[in-house]
């Protein structure tokens, strides 16, 4: 524990504490603790999704139609998501470059990399909105069932199995023949990825605010820490996506 006086002393008017008794900036310590809290937030969302996906799989497997109706295999194409994940991962790299530029006090470079991070993040969010719209149009909804568009062949196979309606019913969705499966896969997916998208959006606003502030006050000694904090949050949001991408899309 540092024994140097850490916080505003008598006679040290206007000296905002930057480093405290832990030897860390207070805001950084607070942000780390917040990230710890957020980890539990996303862990709960991911676990909920996995539980309901496992149940759906078990139910479909028992009926012998897992391959045809598995929501993950049939809905979540990894092509678009791989692109989105790459965008977000690239944004972590540009964030590091922005911080490095700020440490070198190269503000022109900083503005470039910070803006690149913001734009990459925004493209991710845009891609996610597109993905959500696409999934909605192919029958994955914020409802306790999904309507998977199927070929006539699969339709006939399922019809011939004469399955219980609590497992699957046959119907239509957006003018396509569809198998309607009672499952919380869609709900848990949208809530989980939606909250991640919300966090990315907040991160974009944060990075933008730092961009504006640094631009306005390039001489402020607070800048490196402001940039670092925004970056810390940004890396965390990226990391959550890496977890979701791996666990939900790849595994």
């Amino acid at each position: 524990m540092s024994s140097s006086a850490s916080h505003a002393h008598h006679g040290e008017a206007n000296q905002k504490p930057l480093v405290g008794s832990m030897g860390v900036d207070s805001r950084k310590l607070g942000l780390w603790a917040f990230i710890g809290s957020e980890t539990l937030f996303f862990a709960t969302l991911i676990v909920t999704h996995l539980i309901f996906y496992a149940r759906t799989k078990e139910m479909l497997n028992g009926a012998g139609i897992l391959k045809e109706l598995d929501p993950r295999l049939n809905y979540l194409g990894i092509e678009l998501t791989t692109v989105l994940a790459s965008l977000l991962l690239a944004s972590s790299l540009t964030m590091v470059l922005a911080l490095a530029a700020s440490k070198a006090r190269d503000w022109k470079k900083f503005r470039f990399w910070q803006m690149a991070t913001i734009l990459l993040g925004a493209s991710f969010v845009g891609g996610q909105v597109y993905e959500f719209m696409h999934l909605y149009h192919v029958g994955l909804k914020l409802a306790p069932s999904y309507a998977l568009h199927i070929s006539d062949e699969v339709y006939n196979t399922i019809a011939s199995l004469n399955l219980d309606p609590s497992i699957v019913t046959l119907g239509e969705d957006h003018g396509h023949k569809a198998a309607i499966v009672p499952s919380l896969f869609g709900v848990t997916f949208f809530v989980m990825t939606g909250f991640h998208g919300l966090h990315v959006t907040i991160g974009i606003i944060w990075l933008l605010a730092v961009y504006v502030k640094v631009n306005k006050y390039p001489d402020s000694p607070e800048n490196p820490m402001d940039i670092e904090l925004g970056g810390l949050y940004w890396h965390f949001v990226d990391l959550v996506w890496v977890a979701i991408f791996t666990i939900v899309y790849l595994m």
């Binding site: 905002k16 207070s26 917040f34 937030f41 009672p182 001489d219």
Partner: protein, 646 residues
């Protein structure tokens, strides 16, 4: 007395009074002491409301086949009673006293993030008021404080009460997480020079532990509430088994938060009596490290025992055995604390002040609650007692006999520091004995009717079950309990008007907050204290007795009494953050938007309500935007680099 005359009459309480009351200085405050007092007053107001709810419940249950309350109103009342006492009374009271005392104990000017601190209090109040607005908006929540699925689905809870519960507690939850982050950083990063972790007062220790519990326990509750909101507003069915959801999942998510929550309620209070007992035994706490680290152990273990609330579900013998074992293990660190408290008093020069009586009351009642807790940790016994009044008895022995008695101990102990006046001890002791007796009258018979099979959460019962006499005694006890609370209120008002003035250090206490005036000036310490031991003020007052637990200290404590106020030379140079309304506007905006969210998809209410809901959300959004802008502007004013140069 090596450092100064101890019993000095405080002079500046008159000058403070002459300044007059200004609403602005309170509503726009970022001072941890004022925020602490707003927390305490709000929590006490909710304590009265929750108490009235309890009395209505007891009137209904005083006689068999009573028709004083309808079943529906009864359900709303017991749900709101518990929700209020847990989220709007004990938690914020702990936070309020912590807010006031912790920065003083570590020798800081304020909390680490004063504006965030202000946001926490206003969000807490907004959430509490939103929750209570449900009573006039068609019906309060009625699913019990743990809101078991599928009772909380719209089909069984058709009023908006559950939505108020979700969003009201959502706001207080954000307030709690923000507050916990603030405590963590304050305790870890704002300590005075020399105050190592192992020299921190135990109340500070327990606040640190609880803050970590809060940041790790609340997210699961937040997620579960959001999922429930999706169920109710968007037909998602997370917890609706009829549509493929899972009711037991709610129980897991809720109790993963809910069990740590009970330690959130009790650990700070354990910290309070760990300050009171040594002071009034004139002895250092016995086994400081054991008391501190057993609190840490309880914090960890609290996360692996949640399913002992769910033995009735039938999770299977392996799960039951694990959670039973883990629950019993918690008795070890708790027992360590109790033995250390008793050993602290043992051989001490015990002064039976009101605060001390309450602390001893805490220990005695908490032991009873702890023992019934151990019985409930055993699945075979729990299966007999679950959902019976035995559980109600247990939880009131730990939460009332524990937390509330301990909070009164803290109240009598720190009241002089917060107000500059001494509560009437005679009245206080009378109140203590009345409260202790009436508490036992109210809650002890619940063990008996519980084991005789009286279920909890029934709005009435048949005559001839053998429960009548005990229930009548409980109801009488409740009224006596209410009277003892009235005595406290009278004591507070009498004291504020004409109570004896308090010196800096009326109890001859060991910790830093007693070195400065009562009440302290806005900047707390004129000179940041330098700490050389766990008992900086005692070691300064009694240098011959100086020493840490590991032997005599190498040098005497340099801590000195300060007799300062706002006009003391040098005080004006201390820069404190400016007043700002932004946190309150931000909290207000979120509260108004939450009110809108409650009605966003209640199709049943028709178009005008949905339009009104959207208008509320829009107003809330504008307020949030305006507040964030104001926040940035205000923080710029206080920045040494961006503000106008002096």
């Amino acid at each position: 007395m090596a450092i100064a005359e101890q019993h000095v009459t405080s002079t500046h309480s008159d000058s403070a009074a002459s300044e007059g009351f200004s609403w602005r200085s309170w509503l726009a405050t970022v001072d941890h002491k004022k925020i602490g007092i707003i927390y305490i007053i709000s929590a006490f107001a909710f304590f009265i409301i929750g108490g009235i709810e309890a009395m209505l419940i007891r009137v209904q249950l005083g006689m068999p086949n009573n028709t004083f309350l309808s079943a529906d109103v009864y359900n709303q009342l017991f749900t709101m009673h518990a929700t209020t006492m847990v989220f709007l009374v004990i938690m914020p009271m702990n936070v309020g006293i912590g807010n006031y005392v912790v920065p003083l104990m570590v020798g800081a000017r304020d909390m680490a993030f004063p504006r965030l601190n202000a946001l926490s209090i206003w969000l807490f109040l907004g959430g509490g008021l939103l929750l209570y607005f449900s009573f006039i908006a068609g019906g309060a929540p009625n699913g019990g404080w743990f809101s078991y699925a599928p009772l909380t689905q719209t089909r069984y809870s058709p009023t908006a009460g559950m939505d108020y519960w979700i969003l009201g507690l959502g706001l207080t939850g954000v307030a709690s997480i923000a507050g916990a982050l603030n405590f963590i950083v304050t305790v870890l990063n704002m300590r005075a020079p020399g105050m190592t972790l192992n020299r921190m007062p135990l109340f500070v220790w327990m606040n640190l532990v609880v803050s970590f519990i809060i940041i790790f326990a609340f997210p699961t509750f937040t997620v579960a509430s959001i999922q429930l909101l999706f169920d109710r507003q968007f037909g998602a069915a997370f917890f609706n088994p009829a549509l493929g959801g899972d009711a037991v999942l709610w129980q897991h998510l809720f109790w993963f938060f809910g069990h740590p929550e009970v330690y959130i309620l009790i650990l700070p209070v354990m910290g309070m009596i760990s300050e009171v007992l040594p002071t009034f035994s004139r002895k250092p706490i016995f086994g400081y490290a054991f008391v501190a680290y057993s609190g840490v152990a309880i914090g960890f273990l609290g996360f692996i025992v949640w399913a002992h609330h769910m033995f009735g579900v039938g999770l299977g013998p392996v799960a039951n055995a694990f959670f039973a074992g883990a629950s019993m293990v918690i008795a070890v660190p708790t027992g360590v604390k109790i033995f250390n408290w008793i050993a602290t008093m043992w051989g001490g020069d015990v002064r039976l002040t009101t605060a001390m009586l309450y602390a001893i009351g805490f220990i005695s009642m908490f032991i009873i609650g702890g023992i019934s807790g151990i019985t409930l940790a055993s699945p075979p016994i729990d299966l007999q007692q679950t959902d019976s009044y035995y559980v109600v008895a247990h939880l009131h022995y730990v939460l009332f006999g524990g937390s509330i008695l301990g909070l009164f101990s803290g109240a009598f102990y720190w009241f002089p520091k917060m107000t500059g006046r001494m509560l009437d001890e005679k009245l206080g002791k009378l109140q203590f004995w009345l409260m202790l007796v009436s508490f036992n009258l109210t809650f002890f018979p619940m063990h008996i009717v519980g084991t005789e099979g009286m279920p909890r959460r029934i709005y009435t019962y048949e005559a001839g079950m053998g429960w009548e006499v005990w229930n009548l005694i409980e109801t009488v006890g409740t009224f006596l309990l209410a009277f003892s609370v009235l005595m406290f209120i009278y004591n507070v008002f009498k004291t504020l008007r004409s109570g004896a003035l308090a010196s800096n250090d009326p109890w001859d206490a060991p910790t830093l907050e007693w070195a400065i005036p009562s009440p302290p000036p806005s900047y707390n310490f004129l000179h940041t204290p330098v700490v050389t031991s766990r008992r900086p003020l005692w070691d300064a007052k009694y240098p011959h007795a100086v020493g840490d637990d590991h032997g005599p200290a190498s040098k005497p404590s340099p801590v000195r009494y300060e007799y300062t106020d706002e006009n003391t030379p040098g005080a004006k140079d201390i820069h404190m953050p400016s007043l700002t309304f932004s946190p309150m506007i931000l909290a207000g905006g979120l509260t108004i938007a939450s009110l809108g969210f409650i009605y966003i998809n209640q199709a049943i209410l028709g178009l005008p309500t949905r339009v009104a809901a959207l208008v509320f959300i829009a107003i809330g959004a504008v307020m949030v935007f305006y507040a964030i802008r104001g926040w940035v502007v205000d923080s710029r004013k206080d920045s040494p680099y961006l503000g106008h140069h002096h």
